[in-house]
């Protein structure tokens, strides 16, 4: 359900390599900028947060969740964007567990919709089999196939 919505809203991109984590945040925000969900300043807000608090946005090895605060500067709507980078982006040179290839970038101005999105994302990120499959996606058709296969919407309803 979340991946299908991501594809329908064109909130996704697939990139071969990105040379710095800062740049990876800017590129991850591009699909959200394209339809006005966020302004370019939003990416810079996220970068500031990571510089201040460290690479905590890499939740588990390979999976990053770039986000600033609710109603943050530059956020105009509530959505999640997906990015897959072929070569891992390093957020901490001393810690390979903080490398990321899958990015779910959050923007939120509405806490109810945001919470629903986060429940769906939580269900996905705690499904190890699905996470393993996400590491291999190469295009939007893969996202739709995984959405169908795992039916997150139904799983989320059963969970909560």
């Amino acid at each position: 359900m979340l991946l299908k919505e991501i594809v329908e809203k064109r909130h996704f991109n697939f990139v071969d390599r990105i040379d710095s984590w800062e740049e990876s945040i800017r590129i991850a925000c591009k699909p959200l900028e394209a339809d006005g969900t966020v302004e370019p300043v939003y990416a810079e807000e996220i970068i500031k947060c990571v510089k201040k608090h460290g690479p905590y946005i890499v939740l588990i090895p390979n999976f990053a969740m770039p986000h600033s605060c609710e109603g943050a500067i530059g956020a105009k709507d509530t959505a999640i964007s997906f990015m897959k980078v072929t070569r891992p982006v390093s957020f901490d040179p001393g810690d390979p567990e903080k490398d990321a290839t899958v990015f779910f970038t959050l923007a939120s101005v509405n806490s109810d919709i945001h919470l629903k999105n986060m429940r769906k994302l939580f269900t996905m990120l705690t499904n190890e089999e699905l996470c393993a499959e996400l590491l291999g996606v190469t295009g939007p058709e893969d996202l739709l196939r995984l959405d169908e296969k795992y039916s997150f919407g139904d799983a989320a309803r059963l969970d909560y």
Binding site: H53, Y56, L59, M65, H67, L125, T126
Partner: protein
């Protein structure tokens, strides 16, 4: 007794929500009695933590909450905010579980 729980991260809207969802799963599985789980930003948590029984934060922020520990709050730092297993293990180690289970 039902626990008052605070989860906090840098911004209070991303990582802390994930922690809240992980915690709710762990609490359900441990049959823990919960009064409420509030999520917020670190800045708010620094002042409000002493009013809670439990504070959960990503491990790297744990040094910011020595004052909460000293005032008797169970401060739990998580390496993986998505890990129900880690939360369960740390709740069990904290001794909170036996006194706060649903009958």
């Amino acid at each position: 007794m039902a626990l008052k729980v605070l989860v906090a991260c840098a911004n209070g809207a991303g990582t802390s929500l994930m922690m809240k969802l992980s915690f709710e799963r762990a609490a359900k599985s441990l049959k823990l009695a919960i009064q409420n789980v509030h999520h917020c930003a670190l800045s708010e948590a620094k002042s409000s933590a002493p009013g809670y029984d439990v504070l959960m934060i990503p491990q790297n922020f744990i040094d910011m909450f020595k004052h909460a520990m000293e005032s008797g709050v169970s401060v739990i730092g998580l390496r993986n905010v998505l890990s129900e297993a880690e939360i369960k293990e740390k709740l069990l180690a904290s001794g909170l579980v036996e006194n706060n289970q649903l009958l």
